[in-house]
């Protein structure tokens, strides 16, 4: 788990073009053992193409991929024995039982005899699927399906785990449990790469990379990213007249975005606007319209604010 360890996933200069379109543009990814690495981005930013290349499903146009010390491009088959992959969409067999699905995976990963039995039981135990072993996978609730996907991916004790939007559509409780499990796996030394577009989930990652138009536009630990100076300051307006302020704020030239949040307004200013300008505007409007302002203060940026700012910077 030390920084000195060789990365379990290492991609250098990874590029994938589809005709004239560059889906992934010279990205670098390095994931250490025990690390949970998050790949963020909007749909179409290149996350899925990147993860497909890293899993050996799609050959890169240029670049080098090494997974668990094996060259994924040249020795894909050997490298695949070291990885587990959970797809965004349930991709096991709905007309097979939980145990049958796992048995199939055991066969595909070459598990035999006592080890096979031991691993099957362990996977069922780890993901709380023991009493569901005879249930048809297609009849499981979504959260259970996701767990079954993870159980199948972990059966052969991979050194690297790829999770493509693993919790989309899963209820918050199940997501929480899922992430606890991810942490346990990371603690055991597995390198984990996860794609997501939930900001709260991004905070769970040890390190993050934000993708936009095929490139990584920001990278670091969540703390590092939150400490970045924002070109577009955020202010928090606390007022009993928040609803009226919200309507008015949309028309002010200093304001880029107004987000109602727990009875307050988070106001994101345009790049280059001074907070003082907004303060003056709010005071003037308050007097003119007889509105009360309880407080107007700079807000601590959230990850989403950071990403919006980064994306805007790069859009120009």
């Amino acid at each position: 788990m030390s920084d000195a360890a060789a990365p379990l996933i290492l991609a250098e200069d990874l590029t994938r073009r589809f005709g004239d379109f560059t889906a992934v543009d010279h990205i670098h990814v390095a994931v250490q053992p025990g690390e949970v690495f998050g790949l963020l981005g909007a749909n179409g930013a290149g996350k899925t193409t990147a993860i497909r290349m890293l899993c050996g499903m799609l050959p890169p146009t240029t670049g080098r991929i090494q997974v668990a010390d094996v060259d994924m491009v040249r020795h894909a088959r050997r490298a695949r024995g070291q990885i587990g992959y959970v797809a965004q969409r349930f991709s096991l067999y709905g007309d097979l039982t939980v145990l049958e699905n796992l048995s199939l995976q055991a066969g595909l990963y070459g598990l035999t005899g006592a080890r096979r039995h031991e691993r099957l039981e362990e996977a069922l135990r780890l993901l709380n699927l023991r009493e569901h072993r005879a249930v048809m996978a297609g009849a499981l609730p979504l959260g259970y399906k996701q767990r079954l996907g993870l159980a199948a991916a972990l059966l052969h004790e991979p050194r690297v785990l790829f999770l493509d939007e693993p919790t989309s559509g899963v209820d918050p409780m199940a997501r929480q449990r899922f992430w606890e499990l991810i942490y346990d796996l990371a603690d055991s030394g597995i390198g984990i790469l996860v794609t997501t577009h939930y900001m709260d989930e991004a905070l769970f990652c040890d390190r993050l990379a934000l993708m936009q138009a095929g490139r990584v536009v920001a990278e670091g630990t969540p703390d590092e990213l939150l400490r970045r100076p924002l070109p577009t300051p955020i202010l928090e307006l606390d007022s009993p007249d928040a609803v009226r302020f919200e309507r008015l704020a949309h028309t002010w030239p200093e304001v880029r975005e107004v987000i109602p949040h727990a009875g307050q307004l988070r106001i994101r200013l345009r790049a280059g606007t001074e907070p003082a300008a907004l303060r003056a505007r709010v005071d003037a409007v308050a007097v003119e319209q007889r509105l009360t302002v309880t407080a107007l203060r700079p807000a601590a940026p959230e990850l989403e604010d950071v990403f919006v700012a980064v994306l805007e910077e790069n859009e120009v």
Binding site: G56, R80, G107
Partner: protein, 367 residues
């Protein structure tokens, strides 16, 4: 090639089959159902064809010949009259397929040796009309011989391999080929297309499974099901339709397996190009049924086709299988004598396999 991977996929396929008893029942029953349907529907022999006999003079000569027609299994005399207008009416209404008209001077001219009979045929179905004409000629000639007359040339014919000239004997092996082509291609086309639809291939691609292992594991259970189908079809052919199996059963089974493999690979190739079950099943149906029916020599002799169509039949697998199975059923010949057909089937299987593997690699579909 890792046998454990193949076994894992094959076992999964068996689970799918057992889990879906309705589809399994359909696969197992469809061949014999189609065999019964086609076996009874496609008849190239004449049987109880409705016939009108018009005697414009009733005498012993015409009576004797009319009696021959009455007694024949090929005809059923539904109308006897002495007015030829009755015959044209019956033909118009479709009540008879043909009318045999004896003119008033038939008996007189018969003695002189230049008797004439008029035969009116319903030519709407030209094939049947030709068949009726030939049967009538045969019966009239036979009658002439019996009376000691002399037709111009007398042919001593003997039909080999199918002594009674029952068209069924040739048709049933053809029906088996057609049915197996449809069922074989359909099974694999549907099962691979389903995995594409459900995204299962995405998951398989991240495992160490290879394309060859996948294909082998996938096809082997269906090959067994196909062989079971075939066994039933052969049993029906021999015991229900009385087709003699003169050659070796083992040879027939081995060649049938080869043919099944060809059509199953065809199904696999179709499914990876179609990508969904609906399109795959339609393509499998059209690409097996029509060629097996029209271009295989099943009903229409390949030698009678226009030259370009004859070349087209060279890539129809059913053509070779029908030639082989007819030879084994009826001639009792060993397949070694028909090595070109066997080699052609092997070659097609190999080409389908290569193309399927190459295509699936190019499309990034199979692991």
């Amino acid at each position: 090639m890792n046998i454990q991977h193949v076994r894992a996929i094959a076992r999964k396929e068996v689970w799918h089959l057992l889990r879906d008893p309705r589809s399994l029942a359909l696969i197992l029953l469809m061949p014999s159902m189609l065999l019964f349907l086609f076996g009874y529907a496609i008849r190239l022999d004449l049987y109880e064809a409705p016939l009108a006999i018009i005697q414009e003079s009733r005498d012993t000569a015409t009576e004797a010949l009319a009696a021959q027609f009455d007694a024949s299994r090929a005809f059923h005399v539904v109308l006897r009259s002495n007015d030829r207008r009755d015959a044209t009416d019956a033909l118009q209404r479709g009540e008879v397929w043909a009318a045999l008209i004896f003119p008033p001077d038939y008996a007189r001219r018969l003695e002189r040796g230049d008797a004439r009979i008029q035969l009116l045929l319903d030519g709407v179905d030209a094939n049947t009309a030709r068949l009726v004409r030939n049967y009538v000629l045969m019966l009239v000639n036979d009658d002439l011989l019996r009376q000691g007359g002399q037709p111009p040339i007398r042919i001593e014919d003997r039909t080999w391999f199918n002594e009674t000239k029952e068209s069924q004997l040739a048709i049933i092996p053809g029906v088996i080929a057609m049915v197996m082509a449809v069922v074989g291609a359909m099974m694999t086309a549907l099962t691979i297309a389903r995995e594409m639809e459900q995204g299962n291939l995405v998951m398989l691609r991240t495992t160490p499974l290879t394309r060859r292992e996948f294909l082998l594991g996938k096809l082997s259970p269906y090959l067994l099901v196909g062989l079971l189908d075939l066994a039933v079809a052969i049993a029906v052919a021999v015991w229900v339709f009385d087709v003699p199996l003169r050659g070796s059963l083992l040879a027939l089974l081995l060649l049938s397996m080869l043919f099944l493999l060809v059509v199953m690979l065809q199904g696999a190739l179709i499914s990876i190009n179609a990508g969904n079950q609906l399109l795959a099943s339609q393509m499998a149906m059209v690409s097996t049924f029509l060629p097996a029916f029209l271009l295989s020599g099943f009903i229409f002799a390949i030698e009678n086709m226009p030259t370009t169509l004859q070349y087209l039949t060279l890539i129809v697998p059913a053509r070779y299988y029908i030639a082989l199975s007819r030879a084994i059923f009826l001639k009792g010949i060993t397949p070694l004598l028909l090595w070109t057909e066997t080699a052609a089937l092997l070659l097609i299987a190999l080409v389908f396999l290569r193309v399927t593997l190459a295509r699936s690699k190019k499309l990034g579909l199979l692991p």
